[in-house]
Structures are given as structure tokens and as C-alpha cells.
Symmetry: C4
Subunit: 232 residues, 4 copies
């Protein structure tokens, strides 16, 4: 019944491995069927070479497993919180990819230092606050989600589909599970180039707003002219 | 009729992917038939695994599509401006390769720090000025080309077949589409080694002019003795 | 008679090569059968492409070869010392992997800068003292082991299954030879990200104890809820 | 007649490509038959995918081609100078590998910062002086060789089989062409780890002489006990 959703989510998870964003069982991707109120997510702690569509876990919006023999990813509650807050997203992705994690560990947002960044993310990549001891002590994964949502007050989640959880690593999202993974791949490359730019030239300033908006609007929204015609 | 040109341009684009200079649909290569006044270029936003010679777009020197169902690369006007200004070039290439983009984002020219650089580029790799708001607002891609051409006043484009567009990334060119890609590959390696050299030894000076000229002339021009005999 | 042990140890050694932690004959993994008092270890100086289970060397706990035509790894005495001191471990691994070796050469412990580290290692990765001339002069490999054991006084070796030998490189261990290799792979990634974090943000502090303990306990011990149910 | 020599030299050149030390036609390896006074070397400017044993060029000790239709590597005179000065070597290798070239471009010797270095090179990797204008103007490649030889006065070339040519890149050598390549691979890894060590900990000191000698003697000379028994 949810075969397509499970297949999409499985494929998106495998793509993390293929793109070298994960090792072992690190990372997880989910997808949502908003009409049915069902989320498919990677099972917890299963290695990528053992993933199949059948092994994806289906849960409802409260996180209760409705199909599947395996436990869902331990980050499930973070995913659900994001689906609740960002209405237009269809997929969520979490990795510990090298350079995005380096920025997360440094507790620094990634400034928009070039057009590669502006082509995909409309502004600096935000970093959350560090978590309080009480937020860690209970419902940790849920609180991680809440922290992200709080950080996005006033921001457009679809124009800025990535966040760095302080001391931890990145979450990305998109209209579909595969979009969320594409954003994770691009975030990693943007993070790597921003890292190199600041090591080569500490204090390098962000690009101008007109240049940033120009590049973002070339690829996104009604005036986009990059790529081939398609409904967005 | 332009089957050879389209095949050459397609192959050069695929080489970008093979050499790890691009991800997804980033980057583009074009080639020109100067007799006929026709340019073949990658279609916009098409992934490398879906490229075929048939899908290359043919345009005239005003940028009007004369063959092909797809939109040309959004960077087309930059390519055309370079063909207009640099009479001896037959191919143009644009990437967001990691280290060349880092230098572009740092808005710094790449100094000639070693013979690897001097073997291929006769002087530091120039960086353009940053663009003004009015240059961004209309005809952005054309203005990018004009900015590059302006930066090359007094420089020999064939002896220095690369530029860094400030805040953006590199363009390279050459006698053919494949030459333009070779220069993009070598630029990336030169950029990577210059980056490492300055991190290890900030303030390292450029190599001497005699050493630079010696290496460049070993490989280029009438006194070249590197490689096997051939007409150049 | 020890076919399974030899097969496990061989496979774990080959994994080092597959995961790009070694070149040529660098690195070595061993495994122990505690009931029989037998250790299987990689032969010294043999390249990975020539390793087979049959070529693994069996030694007793004094280091005397009991089966095999080849010399055991020159680091054997270090392995034996660790088996003697850490009663619950079943495998030991030594590599010169790039980033873990960089930290070893810098003679600095790896601070716990993020949850990736805390997921796997319960505290900073310790670095040994530098060796005295007399410790180098005789029984060097044995003394290397003693130095590690001394450094672990008061530490829980299974919760912190890695050490940096100053000026040298990492040793890791685990419940089995393959666990020891998993820890070497993760150590390398943790070392790489800690290196990048401090280059980007010198002076970055360790994560809080509650966050560190939360992540470690999600994956280890009685309250673990990461992964699927299994006996640990 | 020199089929074995040509096969060995071809294989050693191909190994450079396989080990990712070169791109395009960069780099070259030669081997010598000291009895016959014949050197086999890579042809100049030929890509690795087109190399065959038949295409190796045979020259005598004056550099005159005695067999082969192609021009020898433009670095031939540097190789010949090294064969003349270092009597026990059987192969020479030149690359522009990334990290060894970074050190060459920074004009800094590679300090011995760890046992990986000491296992293979008995002391810091020397860097030559920068070349004078007159040395560049004529017989440049010969003078490069002379500069290396001058730098090695008082050093044991077989215990320290590598040099950094200032502003240029590394040369390595060994008892055979394949040994010279092994030393190039290890030099690159040593250079990479030394680079990282100094970025992480500027001012890190060299390891102690006893530790350096211990590691070098474990692997080299009469008291070596690393690896399996063999005549060296």
C-alpha cells in the first residue's frame, strides 16, 4: 500500500551511501504521505548494504509503528517535528557528513561566500543554539526538532532547506526524500568550500544581497530560467 | 551537419564528470565552429548521465538556438562573449570545482608558486572585479563575460587560459572543447597546491620570472621541447 | 583448529585495506581465543593482496609462534600487553591512518567536539607520554604496550577503545577483531572532523557532559535504544 | 634485449597513475642496467593509458637514444645525474604529487614528525636551494640534477631516498624502478601527515633521535626485524 513511499525512502537512503555522506549505519532519510498521515523512515542501526524497501519502517504522525518489524531510526521524533512545522516538505535527511559536521561542531553558521551557495540556499545556513541539560535529559530527539523549528522562526524552510544542529551535525529537507538528499550533498560541498575560503582568507565577507538573490532566483521561483521547463 | 562538433562538446562535458570537477548538473562546456558561426553547448540543468551528443544545443553567435529542443546553458552569453573577444579559442568551460572556487570565493588571484603552475599558465590566474548591482540586475551572464574580457586587457588569453570570477568560480578555455577541460583539470590541481602552500607557509613568494618562463616555454611555443613532435 | 579465529583476523585485516586506512603492508589486526590462550595476528610486512587466512600466525600468550611459517607482526608484543591488561577485549588493531596519525604526531589528545565522537568514545581519545630513551632501547614494542596500559589507569577500555601513541599512531580494540577495525574507521573520521573543527575555530570547547553521556548511552549499555534488539 | 628493463620501467610508470600520484602525462620513472650502461625511461608527454613496454625509450649514460622512436622524458638529464652520483640506485622517479609538491613550493624540508616517516626515511626530507638564473638559462634539467647531488653531500642516498626540488616537486629513487615508486607513494603520505601536523600544532618538534633510529633500523639494515627473511 505504501510501496512507492517505501521504495523512494529506501532509494534516498542508499543514495547517502553512494554519495559518500555516511559510513556504517550513520544517517537516515524519511518521507511523508501527507494525505494518509504516514511517514516511512530508515530502521535504526541497519547498515546500508542490508537496506531494502521492505525494511523501511512506517509510522503515524505520533511516531507509532504501523508497519515493519524493525525499530525506526532513533532520530524519528526530530523528523516528525520538522514535518509538523514545515508544511510543504516531503522528505527529511540527517547525516554526519564531514564538512557540514565540522561547521556544526564549531557552532558556526555557514556564511554565504559564493554563488554555489546562493544557487541553492537563500542565506547563511543557520546553526541552532546549544541544548540545555533539561532538554537533553528527556525527549532529546523531540527537543532537537523543536530547537530547529525555533531557529527557523521568520525563515522560509523551503528556500533554506538545511540547518546545523550545534555540536552535532546537519539536517536537510525538501519536497521529497530524494530532494532532501540532494540538499545534503550540496550542503556538504558548500560547507567544504566555505571552510577552505575562510582558511585561505579569514574574515572574507558574504557576497552582496543582489548577487545572492540573483543566483537564487535564477534557479528558484517564478522567474527561474535555469534548467528545462517544468512544473515546480 | 554539426555532428562532430556536438560529439566533441558532449565528450568534453562528460569528462568534467569523470574528472570529479562537477556534481549533478553543475558546469558546462561549449565549442565553436568559427567558419559557420555556430556554437554547441550543454543544455541547461541536465544531469551528466543523461547527456548525449544529440542533446547538445546549437546556437548562432547572437545566442539564438538554431538546433535542439532544449534550452542552452544559462551561462551561454558568457561563453559567447569569450568567443568574441578571444579569437583563437575553440572551447570554453565553466565549473565550480572545489579549490578553484575557494580562490574565487576568497576573491584572490592564484599566485604562481611552482613549476606545475608555470608549465601550464603563464602568470598568476587573474580574478575579476566584483560585480556592481547594475551589472547583476540585467544581462548578468553577458556582463560576467564582459568583466572577464576587461580583466584580460593586456593579457594573452591562450597563454593564460583561465580566470576566476570573483565570488563565483572558474572559467577556462582552449583551442578545443577538450583543451578547455584539460585546463580546468589542471587549474583545479594548481589551485589545490597553491592553497596548501599558503596554509603551510603564509607569505610564500611567487617563483622567479626566469623559472616561470623556462617552464612555460618548455611546453609552449616555438622552443617547446616537452612531449613528442607535432604541429601546434 | 583455529580456523574461525584465523578467518576472522584475516577478514579484519583486509577490511583495513578496503576502508583506506592503510597502504602497502602498514597496519595489523589480531584476535584472541581466551579459553585456549591463543592469539592470531597478521604476518609481518606482507601486503594485503597476499593475505589469506592460512597465512595468519598463531602465537601463545608469551608470543611464541605455535603455528604458521611466517614471522608475526613486529607489533605483536604491544597487542599481547593489551590483551593482558584489558580483560574483555577480543581484538586489537593498529594503523597509521592519516588524521589519527596527525593527532598522534602532534602529541595531542582528541577532544570530544561533537556527538559523532560521543556516540562511540566516552571521552577524549587519550595520547600516551613520549617514550624515554631506555624504553626505546630494549623491548620497544612491549614498552609501547605498557605505556598504553599506564595511560588507561582509571579509564574504561571498552568505553574508550582507542589510544594515540605519541609520535606514532593509533591503536584501537574491541570485543572482536572486526570491532577493533570498526573503531579504527570511526576514530579516523572523528579525528578528521576534530582537526577541521579546530582549524575553523581554534579554541572550540568540548561538548557538555550531559550531551556526551546522552549520546554514548543511546548506543551503549543497558539503556541503549539505538539499533535493533540484540544481546550485547 | 632490454625487455625486462623496459617492462619494469613501464610497470613502475603505470603504478604512478594507479596510486593517484599523477594526472595526464605528468611524472616519469626510469631504470638502469648498470652492467650495460643503459637507462630505460618514459617517453615525454605520453599519457599513461598509452604507455606500453615497447614505447619506453632506451638511452646510454650520455643521454643518447639507442632504441625507441619517441623522445625521452624532458627530465632525462636529471635522472642521469642521479645515477652518476648515487651508485647503488637502480631506479629514479619524479612526480608532482599534491603534498610533496606543496612542501616543495613552500621551499621547506619535511621534518621527521613521526614513526611513519622514520620507518622509511632516515632524517628530514631535504629541499634543494632555489636555482640561479644562469642555472635555469642553459642545461636546466642537468643543473636540477647537480643541485640535488650537491644537497646530498654528506647524506646517505639509500637511507634518504627522496628530495624536494625547491619551487618544483619531489624526486625519489631506490634499488629498482618499483622501489623508487614505493618511495614516492610513501613520501606523499608522509608529506600529507606532516602538513596536517603543523597546521594542527604549529611548532611541533621532530621526534627524538633514538625513536627515529629505532624505527628506521627495525626496517633497514642488518638488525632489521620487520617483514619476512630475505636478502636485502
Amino acid at each position: 500500500m505504501y510501496d512507492d513511499l517505501k521504495a523512494d525512502v529506501c532509494k534516498a537512503n542508499l543514495e547517502l551511501d553512494k554519495r559518500d555522506l555516511v559510513i556504517y549505519s550513520w544517517g537516515n532519510v524519511s518521507g511523508i504521505d501527507r494525505e494518509k498521515g504516514i511517514v516511512a523512515i530508515k530502521p535504526s542501526g541497519v547498515a546500508y548494504e542490508e537496506l531494502t524497501a521492505e525494511r523501511m519502517v512506517l509510522v503515524n504522525l505520533e511516531g507509532k509503528v504501523v508497519e515493519g518489524d524493525l525499530r525506526p531510526s532513533s532520530d524519528l521524533q526530530t523528523h516528525l517535528e520538522l514535518y509538523g512545522a514545515f508544511e510543504d516538505i516531503g522528505g527529511v535527511c540527517h547525516t554526519h557528513s564531514t564538512y557540514a559536521t565540522i561547521w556544526s561542531q564549531a557552532c558556526r553558521e555557514i556564511p554565504c561566500l559564493g554563488t554555489t551557495h546562493a544557487d541553492h540556499f537563500h542565506g547563511p545556513i543557520p546553526v541552532t543554539d546549544e541544548m540545555e541539560e533539561t532538554e537533553i535529559a528527556s525527549e532529546y530527539e523531540l527537543n532537537t526538532g523543536k530547537m530547529i523549528v525555533r531557529r527557523f522562526q521568520g525563515l522560509n524552510a523551503l528556500e533554506l532547506p538545511a540547518v546545523l544542529v550545534a555540536n552535532h551535525g546537519p539536517f536537510t529537507w525538501g519536497r521529497s526524500p530524494s530532494d532532501a538528499v540532494v540538499n545534503a550533498v550540496i550542503l556538504e560541498q558548500v560547507a567544504r568550500m566555505a571552510y577552505g575560503t575562510l582558511l585561505l582568507h579569514p574574515g572574507q565577507k558574504e557576497i552582496s544581497e543582489p548577487l545572492r538573490d540573483k543566483h537564487f532566483r535564477r534557479k528558484h521561483g517564478r522567474e527561474a530560467y535555469y534548467g528545462q521547463e517544468k512544473e515546480e
